[in-house]
Amino acid sequence: MNYSLDGVGKEYWVRHQNVAALESVSLSVQKGEVMAILGSSGAGKTTLFRLLNATLRPTSGSIRLDGREVGAMSSWDLRQTRRRIGTIYQQHNLVPSLSALQNTLCGCLGRWSLAETIRSSVSPAKVDVRLALHALELVELADKRNLRADELSGGQQQRLAIARVLMQNPEVILADEPVASLDPALTDEIMSLLIRVGSEGNRTLVVAIHKVGLALEHFPRVIGLRGGRVFFDRPSAKVNEDLLHDLYDGHRQEPRRIQDDDRFERAFGCAR
């Protein structure tokens, strides 16, 4: 799937004022591309991911998937689109009271018809169970299939999330700081698993990450976000120390408050 973002901005209404999480972000991602997103906390990474997986409406600008405007899709088209995008979150995205196998089966939801959904609520079809077991095997969790998701450790939960994405079999995999809550040994394991999964089947892979070393080592293209704007977008070979220093400088930057005259300018298309 090809992404093209054009002047995308997103504001939130926080404590009686508008706060910009993203401002005029323009970028395009080609099918099969593998890239990392760097940036300090509050730089807008999570917002960007929610825009990319078509669950958030931008305040301004347009997002196109394969040339189709997301804002104009019907709810059915939207579901069909989301089905092609798999997301891995930092944490808390599994259904805690379902077993590992059931959580993996959730990956099928987008392609199940109404009849299949009803049937699977009672007892899932053998074909799907077989696929789910295969996915669990790939992330080495097959023996934990009957444990509840909240009985698994942090690393196991993250692998289970990957199994669910495998089950979903999407064209794009978005991973929002998938290793932020894990220890270093697990970090390597999960990262290489992600990259392996991404490279199979020519999937687009976008990973937000805190660790610069990992990003430069594994990803050919790196985007730096700072204060809700794209600070740099270049091949990892061309990312140098100074750039990174600037990226994380002003680290505790407060999100910028939108001024009224600011909005006025934007409404009339004035350049700032």
């Binding site: 997301v70 979150y89 259904v95 609520s121």
Partner: protein, 578 residues
């Protein structure tokens, strides 16, 4: 590759139940519940045919048409106003009296103060300590009895003792809520942090001092919240008590209902619903303000500057309202001085200590007991089904489009979604706010006097109560898993089955079991207005003055309530464990 597929088939064999719809356990569960339902169906004498008869439908239609337009003539509005005031007064008096008695009784029933825990030391083992501890235990059991006898039955008793009117209602509420609040207060006292108590004891404080300085300040916020909540419950109960002649708005409703003046019924119900909504709002506001770290807005700052003056004003208003309520509820010396009232009370109390255990009487209660159980079970099942179906369109997560979700939003679709959501919410709150006894009166018109009407009434009211609870519970499940499934393309029904239901199922079961316990109490008294079950026998024996038989019946209700509490606890625990 071969090893991998071998592993798969081995795993598949291990979890052989996957892909099979009929597992032995499921078959057993389904068959057992079907059997129970069929028995209940038979016992309740359910004849669906009677409802769909043209004549019945016509009656219902006449009733419905008769409700509009509500009667708003000045004379009747004045009646409604007086009835409202009298209901509120009854509730205030009932709450005040029950609080006054429940605080000492609650303290007496608090185990850590008397029986076990840190305050009972080894050198405490003498006769006095044993006496004290047994007094506490007896209080505990007595509170349980007061709570288990339905407030409507207390209402009937006091109507017999002191005559028709608000006084009977106020006394009945006081007695019933002494049981409720005593228990709740005892729990609140027992829940305090024990370490300060130990410290106080080490300084040589007496039990009274420990209670006043250690327990009371810690429990106060909870006590206030519970008391406010119980006032709301009292208000509802005060309305319902009118049905047995204890004055107020319930009395007016039953009167208008019997006179077939449905337009008046509509006005009365609207007034009652409005009163409940206002009380709900006021108590929510008050509870929010009592919370320790309530946010400070500009309005609050305005209050802050004038706090002491406002507070004094509030206290004066409160005292005046309570005084006026006592006056309105008919508390006057001559009422109690009447020889008849005292004699009735005494006769009643004496009879209460000697229940009638004659064999044929006890045996005759068997069918009524089973009928009561069947009404509660079938009514609850009906409520769960209807409420569950209505809860789905009333859950905003499933029906409404989130405001920041992308995609096109045709106006027509948005309007449709909003109207479905609000229609479901409105219907649920309508079913819920009309008291179950009013539903019995309506259902009698359709199904005739008997357990069928009772079952229908409980089912309709429960649908409203549970539907709202279900919808709120589903809306409040942790959002991240729901978002994750939405992001991978799940539709509303799939979200319900795979994200909302698994996360909410424990809470939903607990609410349902709790509601069944309440319905059991209700179905024991529905007979008072013609809904079948034990209530009919209670009513008859009270009217005939057979107080020792009444004592047996009340004992039976008590046992029933205790048993249902026990079963409910066990089911909830099992669900929590599973």
């Amino acid at each position: 590759m071969t090893t991998a597929s071998n592993a798969h088939s081995a795993a598949l064999d291990n979890c052989a139940s996957y892909g099979r719809i009929c597992t032995p356990r499921r078959v057993t569960v389904v068959l057992t519940s079907a059997l129970v339902l069929v028995i209940c169906w038979q016992v309740d004498g359910i004849r669906l045919g009677t409802i769909v008869q043209p004549a019945r439908i016509h009656t219902l239609w006449t009733l419905f048409r008769g409700l509009f337009p509500p009667d708003v003539s000045a004379a009747f509005l004045w009646t409604v106003f007086r009835a409202l005031i009298s209901t509120v007064a009854t509730a205030i008096v009932g709450t005040v009296l029950s609080v006054l008695v429940a605080i000492p009784l609650g303290a007496l029933a608090t185990p850590i103060l008397w029986r076990r825990g840190i305050l009972s030391t080894a050198n405490d083992q003498n006769l006095f300590a044993a006496l004290r501890s047994s007094a506490g235990y007896i209080t505990f059991v007595a509170l349980g009895f007061l709570r288990a006898v339905p407030d409507l039955v207390w209402g009937l008793l006091f109507v017999t003792a002191v005559g028709l009117g608000s006084l009977a209602g106020a006394l009945a509420l006081a007695v019933a809520y002494i049981g409720v609040l005593g228990r709740v207060y005892a729990d609140a006292f027992a829940d305090v942090d024990p370490r300060p108590l130990e410290a106080l004891q080490a300084t040589g404080a007496t039990r009274t001092q420990i209670f006043l300085r250690g327990i009371w300040p810690q429990a106060l916020p909870n006590l206030t919240a519970y008391t406010l909540y119980s006032f709301e419950c009292c208000l509802r109960a005060a309305c319902v008590l009118g049905f047995v002649g204890a004055g107020g708005i319930g009395y007016e409703i039953s009167l208008s209902m019997r006179l077939f003046a449905y337009r008046q019924v509509m006005t009365l119900i609207l007034a009652f619903v409005l009163l409940l909504a206002l009380t709900d709002l006021a108590s929510k506001r008050l509870r929010a303000r009592l919370r320790p770290n309530a946010g400070s807005s500009r309005k609050r700052r305005w209050f802050k500057g004038r706090r002491s003056a406002l507070r004094t004003l509030g206290y004066v208003a409160l005292v005046m309202a309570v005084g006026a309520s006592f006056y309105l509820a008919g508390f006057s010396p001559e009422h109690f001085g009447e020889a008849n009232a005292i004699k009735n009370m005494l006769r009643f109390c004496r009879a209460m200590t000697s229940p009638d255990f004659a064999k044929e009487f006890v045996l005759s209660l068997g069918p009524l007991l089973i009928q009561t159980l069947a009404i509660s079970v079938l009514g609850t099942v009906m409520g769960v089904v209807i409420g569950g179906i209505l809860a789905i369109p009333a859950t905003s997560t499933l029906v409404l489009v989130q405001s920041d979700s992308p995609g096109a939003r045709p106006l027509a679709k948005q309007v449709l979604r909003l109207s479905v959501f609000w229609a479901a919410r409105l219907l649920l709150s309508l079913l819920r706010s009309i008291p179950d006894l009013v539903w019995v009166l309506v259902c009698i018109l359709v199904a005739g006097i008997g357990p069928f009407a009772g079952t229908l009434a409980i089912g309709i009211h429960t649908a409203g109560v549970l539907g709202k609870l279900y919808a709120e519970t589903l809306e409040e499940v942790p959002a991240q898993p729901v978002e994750a499934l939405r992001a991978l393309g799940a539709g509303p029904l799939q979200l319900l089955a795979w994200a909302l239901w698994p996360q909410a199922k424990h809470m939903l079961t607990c609410y349902t079991v709790l509601r069944w316990e309440m319905n059991l109490r209700v179905s024991a008294i529905l007979g008072l207005v013609g809904g079948g079950g034990l209530g009919q026998a209670i009513y008859n024996n009270l009217q005939l003055g057979f107080y020792s038989r009444l004592a047996t019946l009340l004992l039976l209700v008590y046992l029933l309530v205790i048993a249902s509490d026990w079963i409910g606890d066990r089911v909830s625990h099992r669900m929590a464990g599973a």
